[in-house]
């Protein structure tokens, strides 16, 4: 008899229990008093929900204390949750129950929250405050937080995915360091030089491909492809995309310069490019700012970063979080003042000092404090983040994002296991996405 099974009653009860609670609370919420659009004169207490760990908590608190100094009548209480789905569930239940936070952190779920009318459009506030988002964050990043032409969140932390490379391995192989001028051919040539086999066993990989969307989708965009057209219709099985995926998959299966999923699994559960890079088993990887702290602490690791190479055109994905104001906030105008402050150079500064993340504000990304950070134990080409900002692509974010991600992974994984051809996988994704997108109203 298997004893390892679902906590049956607990899950079922949580599921339906929260469902009932939701229904009741939604009804109650309707009776609340209307929010005020004017900033308060007296004391106001706001709550702000974010996810993350200890560093995030510390940095957000530092930034909020700065905001409170700027606006002495406002107090902001921070609510920190674990990340991922748990956060999204917790916040959506709270908002549906009328007990949502005033300010909340959002990422890929912005369209889902916006389409269900859970967060306020910020366009009027942006106009009143005369903010030029394109100037502050670059043209692309604000679009990640827009839905149907309206802005629902202000970018808070964001940075391009860049190329991390092991300088010593490049020197040993006699290869030139990567630049933004590299083409796919240059990438392959370098990866071939950097892959080292001993007695049939790979000792060092040149590059690593994984089934996570910021990896493979970047190659599609670099090849002139995309996922959805301007009318949100899937265009996944285009010749550009098929060609890109064939090239991507060949890295592991034809040229053998990147580990197959099977090779990767042999390193252990949860081991990916970041870990291999830190262990000195991988020469190049695509990753985000978060990996800096890890790479910085590995003794003897001689590394640097560079913007990604280009295909037919340069393209890179970005990681991003923005700040939004919930529909249930009683003091949206005050919440806006806090959000506006947090997006300013002053409000973003603690993000750099604690090496938490890349700040979204480009002025801060270009400041000396970011380019020559005081925590760095070595010289790092931090300019790569601002340099990449101009070619970040907006991923096909829609309210159905989670479902789309599932369709992708269902079909990209068999492709990467060499069980399905890229053409076949993309054909299936196209069909499934057609269904997913047509189900939306």
């Amino acid at each position: 008899m298997p004893s390892v099974t679902a906590p049956r009653s607990r899950l079922a009860t949580a599921l339906v229990g929260s469902a009932v609670a939701l229904g009741v609370l939604t009804a109650l919420a309707a009776c609340g008093s209307g929010p005020s659009n004017e900033p308060s004169k007296g004391k106001v207490e706001l709550t702000m929900s974010v996810w993350g760990g200890d560093v995030d908590k510390k940095v957000y608190n530092q930034r909020l204390r700065l905001a409170e100094k700027e606006y002495p009548n406002i107090k902001v209480r921070l609510q920190l949750s674990p990340g991922g789905e748990e956060y999204s569930q917790k916040i959506s239940t709270a908002i549906a129950g009328g007990k949502g936070p005033d300010i909340l952190e959002l990422a890929e779920h912005t369209p889902a929250f916006a389409s269900k009318n859970q967060v306020l459009p910020l366009d009027d506030y942006i106009q009143q405050s005369k903010l030029d988002l394109g100037n502050m964050f670059g043209e692309t990043v604000p679009k990640i937080f827009a839905y149907e032409g309206k802005q629902y969140a202000i970018p808070d932390r964001s940075g391009a995915m860049v190329l991390y490379y092991n300088k010593k391995m490049f020197d040993d192989a006699g290869a030139d360091y990567p630049t933004a001028e590299w083409t796919w051919d240059d990438l392959l040539a370098a990866a071939q030089k950097l892959t080292i086999r001993e007695n049939g066993q790979v000792k060092q990989w040149g590059f690593s491909t994984i089934s996570w969307w910021p990896y493979w989708m970047t190659f599609m965009y670099q090849n002139g492809g995309r996922i959805l057209d301007d009318n949100n219709r899937p265009v996944v099985n285009s010749p550009e995309n098929v060609e890109a995926m064939q090239w991507y998959n060949d890295l592991a299966w034809k040229h053998k310069v990147a580990p197959t999923p099977r090779d990767l699994a042999n390193y252990g559960q949860g081991v990916g490019p970041d870990q291999l890079f830190a262990q000195g088993k991988l020469a190049m990887e695509i990753t985000g700012f978060w990996n800096i702290a890890a790479a910085n602490t590995v003794k003897g690791l001689d590394w640097d970063i560079a913007p990604l190479w280009k295909g037919k055109q340069p393209a890179t994905s970005a990681f991003f979080n923005g700040l939004a104001i919930s529909r249930t906030s009683k003091h949206p105008a005050d919440a806006w003042k806090v959000v506006e402050f947090l997006s300013s150079a002053e409000g973003q500064r603690p993000i750099i000092d604690e090496a938490e993340d890349a700040p979204a504000n480009l002025e801060v990304q270009r400041s000396d404090a970011f380019l020559k950070p005081k925590w760095a134990t070595r010289e790092v080409n931090m300019g790569a983040f601002a340099e990449s900002a101009s070619f970040i692509y907006v991923p096909p974010l829609t309210p159905q994002w989670n479902e789309m991600i599932k369709v992708f992974s269902d079909n990209i994984e068999p492709m990467m296991n060499n069980k399905a051809t890229p053409a076949k996988s993309l054909e299936t994704i196209q069909q499934r996405l057609d269904q997913v997108m047509s189900q939306s109203k």
Binding site: M1, P2, S3, V4, T5, A6, P7, R8, L11, A12, T13, L15, V16, G17, A19, V20, L22, G23, T26, E85, Q89, S92, T93, I95, A96, A112, F113, K116, N117, Q118, P261, R262, A265, N266, Y267, G268, Q269, P399, Q400, N402, E403, K406, S409, D410, N411, E413, P414, N417, K419
Partner: protein
């Protein structure tokens, strides 16, 4: 006296159950109020959702094999552990121990055990000259891998069987010896019928538990590759909380409820043919 229990029952069980039955007939996006759509969710489930049939098939396959194999293995283990050998208490502890390891820990452990080339199982197979599959990343092997993990926890069933085995009256076995029954006959004709009520209990609990398998799938495979290991509970969790389709998820949970009811009913109905209750004879 009964009222605290009654309150608990209404608030935590009956209320939510009725609510979920209602939601299963609505389009309910969790963040917006539910909209009545009649049988739409069920129609979509049975006619338009290709994943549903795959998930139902996977769950049934997993349940039937895992409960079947677990039953046989646990009876065999109980019989072995019933032998009068020195140090038997240690063996018994060893068999029961895995059942005490938290699910998440054993699932993480199995990710290692099942690793394609570095894993214990495939290394053992390699010694025999067999190239083992990439258990968790091949569609054909991912459910067998989950079944292997389920066998890891047979200890609880073994303990119950062992207790009942030791309760088999000595005089019955002695009488059988006098009648000339060999050990095999004694086991199949006497011990096994005496164990049958416990076996029924194990099978029914196993069915209920296996149909609701969640943690292993969630941790080890996420339902992949290509939904080959997706099961009903992780699927309804995903639909409800990730895809904002609480109405559809509620419908799925009622179908799961119906499936479990039917299987349990079958187990009980057929039990009159194979379960022997001593008290009914006396």
């Amino acid at each position: 006296m009964v009222s605290p229990w009654l309150v608990g029952f209404v608030v935590f069980l009956a209320g939510p159950m009725i609510a979920s039955l209602y939601f299963s007939f609505t389009d309910y996006a969790l963040l917006t109020p539910p909209v009545w759509t009649g049988l739409d969710n069920y129609i979509r489930m049975f006619t338009a959702d290709p994943v549903f049939w795959k998930v139902l098939g996977n769950t049934t396959y997993y349940t039937v094999i895992s409960v079947g194999v677990s039953t046989i293995v646990s009876i065999a283990l109980a019989a072995l552990l019933n032998k009068p050998l020195a140090g038997m208490r240690i063996y018994r502890t060893i068999v029961y121990l895995p059942a005490l390891v938290p699910l998440v820990a054993s699932a993480m452990l199995f990710a290692w055990v099942l690793a394609p080339d570095a894993g214990l199982i495939n290394r053992a197979l390699g010694v025999l000259g067999i190239t083992g599959p990439d258990w968790l990343r091949e569609e054909a092997w991912v459910i067998p891998a989950l079944i292997l993990l389920s066998l890891w926890g047979v200890g609880t069933g073994v303990v119950l069987l062992l207790a009942s085995m030791r309760g088999v009256p000595k005089e019955l076995l002695e009488a059988a010896v006098i009648d000339g029954a060999n050990p095999r006959q004694r086991f199949f004709q006497i011990v096994l019928p005496m164990l049958s009520p416990v076996i029924l209990f194990n099978v029914v609990m196993g069915l209920i538990g296996s149909f609701q398998v969640f943690g292993q799938v969630y941790i080890l495979t996420g339902g992949g590759p290509n939904n080959a290991s997706q099961m009903l509970v992780p699927y309804l969790f995903e639909e409800g909380f990730k895809n904002y389709r609480m109405g559809y998820a509620s419908g799925l949970s009622w179908v799961l409820f119906a499936v479990i009811m039917i299987c349990t009913a079958i187990a009980f109905r057929t039990s009159s043919r194979w379960v022997f209750y001593e008290t009914e004879v006396r």
